[in-house]
Symmetry: C2
Subunit: 334 residues, 2 copies
Amino acid sequence: MPLLRKPYLIFLGEVTLKSDAKTGFGLRDWCPDDVIGQWALPAGTVSLDLPVLSPADAAARGAGSLLIGVAAVGGTLPERWIPTLVQALDAGLDIVSGLHTRLEQHPALAAAAARTGARLINVRHSDRSFPTGTGLRRGGQRVLTVGTDCALGKKYTALALTRALRARGVKASFRATGQTGIMIAGEGVAIDAVVADFIAGAAETLSPANEPDHWDVIEGQGALFHPAFAGVTLGLLHGSQPDAIVLCHDPSRTTIEDYPHIPLPTLHEAIRRYVEAARLTNPAVRCVGVAINSSTLGDAAWAAYREQVIADLGLPVCDPLRGGVDAIAQTLLA
Amino acid sequence: MPLLRKPYLIFLGEVTLKSDAKTGFGLRDWCPDDVIGQWALPAGTVSLDLPVLSPADAAARGAGSLLIGVAAVGGTLPERWIPTLVQALDAGLDIVSGLHTRLEQHPALAAAAARTGARLINVRHSDRSFPTGTGLRRGGQRVLTVGTDCALGKKYTALALTRALRARGVKASFRATGQTGIMIAGEGVAIDAVVADFIAGAAETLSPANEPDHWDVIEGQGALFHPAFAGVTLGLLHGSQPDAIVLCHDPSRTTIEDYPHIPLPTLHEAIRRYVEAARLTNPAVRCVGVAINSSTLGDAAWAAYREQVIADLGLPVCDPLRGGVDAIAQTLLA
């Protein structure tokens, strides 16, 4: 993954549902200074409330890349997007994509990139090769977000914790392991796209040696309790060698999403299993808090649930969207 | 991985140490009916005591492939091998290689394969795409060999257990996950070469639904306690959904091989951790025995060690090379 060229012009295609522009909203919310404008096809109705700029105008104002901020049906590249993407390449912008289809597989894009020297970057793929993991400790401190399941706030929690640490004057870097995270950070490793033998080695590379008082806040992936993706989770855990973990959970789930035959662990069991596994490469690892995606709970239910989990676990319990994660940052630094 | 074309002509390059021809010896020992002869360059001194056949002679006698049965320094293809490999392709033999370097990267081999229609097969690489894991149970029964470390007998134990089951009249298939295993079986999945997101899915594919009384004996990889490869091990464990596991161990090791800073777990702890992890996709999993690589122990020491482990764990303890694994097969079927 080369370093991405910011700032971005966010391309919204022709989506009409906000949920299809999740990537675009994530970028706007988490790196507003890196987002210079938005551009859509005439049929598109979703807006990020950013300045509307054509690729040429965005380039003239200093944009580095056109970033595809929407999901495409089936992950493939709609033919109707091609003229806009070619215009962007002709204006000197790189194209940054999280689609399954590689951009260079479209002849018109490959030709335009060759002509202009602009880059086609597929953040979902990993074209880099990595060493195997060493298990050797390295300088600096690390915290990894882990989960009872996929897609319940590990990226969001890591971003919020990075902000909370910086607000306390602590040196902290967000380390991205998934495509939206990589777009936000401008760099990272799509850890689930790495060849299996090199998961831990890629995680070691992602979070290199650093100053003793510097924290890497690493975006977790998958879950140890996920029947398809636990291998990714374990390799990332071992390679990250976290000094601390934050457990992320959504109390509305009782089974793994899309796997109704696989029950979720209890929070206590999840913490025990993550800490047990993480001790292999960092015997001093500890859990410093629980981040809850409480979007399905009303205020009273959330307050009651939170008090109960605090009492059960003796750890700070936060929802990044409801009061932030400073209590977790405080425990991390204690 | 396409089905490999047997029988094989084993190519021994110009090695002078038996240990560099480990693959060749493994093939001769585990699938003698599939090995038609051997061929080496003039400087080679290692022999498998098979008929010496040129590629053309082997093809005339029905060979399907020339199989590279030796390791090459650095995993790359020595230039001096090329004329022999081209002769084999010209004789209509496929070339089967476990080297890191892909055969088709050598222009002379790529040209000869294109000219003759013979295939260049790199068993170390995975060019197939797999679905993500489902975690859904499927018909048939499965036993997986697992280990306290890498390279201590998981393949050997799985092969021996397959033989022991067949000797008892049980339907059993060896399922290969590493390169030598794949060469022996003629098919399989190089599980450590799969993209991380698809490890469990590849393992599900490797061991498909079968008759209720059929056993798949699956070759394990890595170890849950290995700082580089545990992700591969966990994904293979989840996708295999084993009804039973056999723990493999080498009592001469106290730390992970090449990782002197990472201690091995006790046998008891290793079994506990494997069973705990395997329960995610098969709650009925049980450990049915321990396979010991006792090559560093004299007869008296081995007998004493074995008695002690039996007493500690209450499980059959075997060395496949010292008396076989029938006691484990018996417990498996009990």
